[in-house]
Amino acid sequence: MVRRSVLFPSQLGDMNRLFSDFFGPETRWAFGRGRSFPAINVWEDGDKLFVEAELPGVKSDTLDVTVVGDELTIKGERPSRAEDELTFHRRERGTGSFTRVVRLPVEVDANQVDASLSNGVLLIMLPKSEAAKPRKVQVKAAK
């Protein structure tokens, strides 16, 4: 059974968060940071929505990006080093699998979504559907 959350009062006050992810488990990668992985930045222009995430060391063949309706899912994994005779003196980088579901603020054309991975940065470009594009409204002077 899937639980959908409603907007909490704290989210209404935060002008920066236009959307939140309603479900998506804390993953091992989160390593106690208490936040979903990966962190994302989102921006738009007139006819496209952009979602970017930093995924260093993740190979594109383990990455899964899907768009269904108004939900974008980013799934993947970064394996840990499995070697004998290995001692960690410091371990800050998480490993393991991750899944993040993001609810998009605008309707997009799922067939035209483009995703590219370069130097560990994933950039997803989602064209807005026609209805979601801004339309200039002519203001007529009332008589």
Binding site: R17, N41, W43, L55, R81, E83, R93, N119, G120, V121
Partner: protein, 132 residues
């Protein structure tokens, strides 16, 4: 044994970055791993081209600096911002257990791996026990 090698491994850090570009500079997450004959430092520096990494070793201090490509720095009006974008900087104090002339690095998918070979005298040596 772990405590001993931690001290021998010889990597401690210092603060205070110097940078000539404006904008935030970040400290990359690292893993420091010790293997039989080498130390590995793996640093996450997404958005940095292999050509834009500076690695310096001077006076027992190893410094890594990664320049992020300009195009990503001036994004305006984000709808949602969960992370900042900027160059990466971090320093490590390297003990004499490391052979300074044998440090190598490779960078792939925004992940920098530094291999520091241990100096000969620092390698663990197995001692044969003769049966009498």
């Amino acid at each position: 044994m772990a405590n001993e090698t931690q001290h021998q491994g010889g990597t401690a850090e210092m603060a205070a970055p110097e940078h000539t570009r404006s904008g935030q500079v970040y400290r990359p997450d690292v893993d420091i791993l010790e293997k039989h004959d080498e130390l590995l430092i793996v640093a996450d520096m997404p958005g940095v081209n292999p050509d834009d990494i500076d690695i310096k070793f001077e006076d027992g201090t190893l410094t890594i600096y990664g320049r992020v490509t300009d195009g990503r720095l001036d994004r305006e009006k984000l709808l949602l911002q969960e992370y900042g974008i900027g160059d990466y900087y971090r320093t490590f104090r390297i003990s004499e257990q490391i052979d300074a002339s044998k440090i190598s690095a490779d960078m792939v998918d925004g992940m920098l791996t530094l291999r520091l070979l241990k100096a000969e005298h620092a390698k663990p040596r197995k001692i044969k026990v003769a049966a009498k």
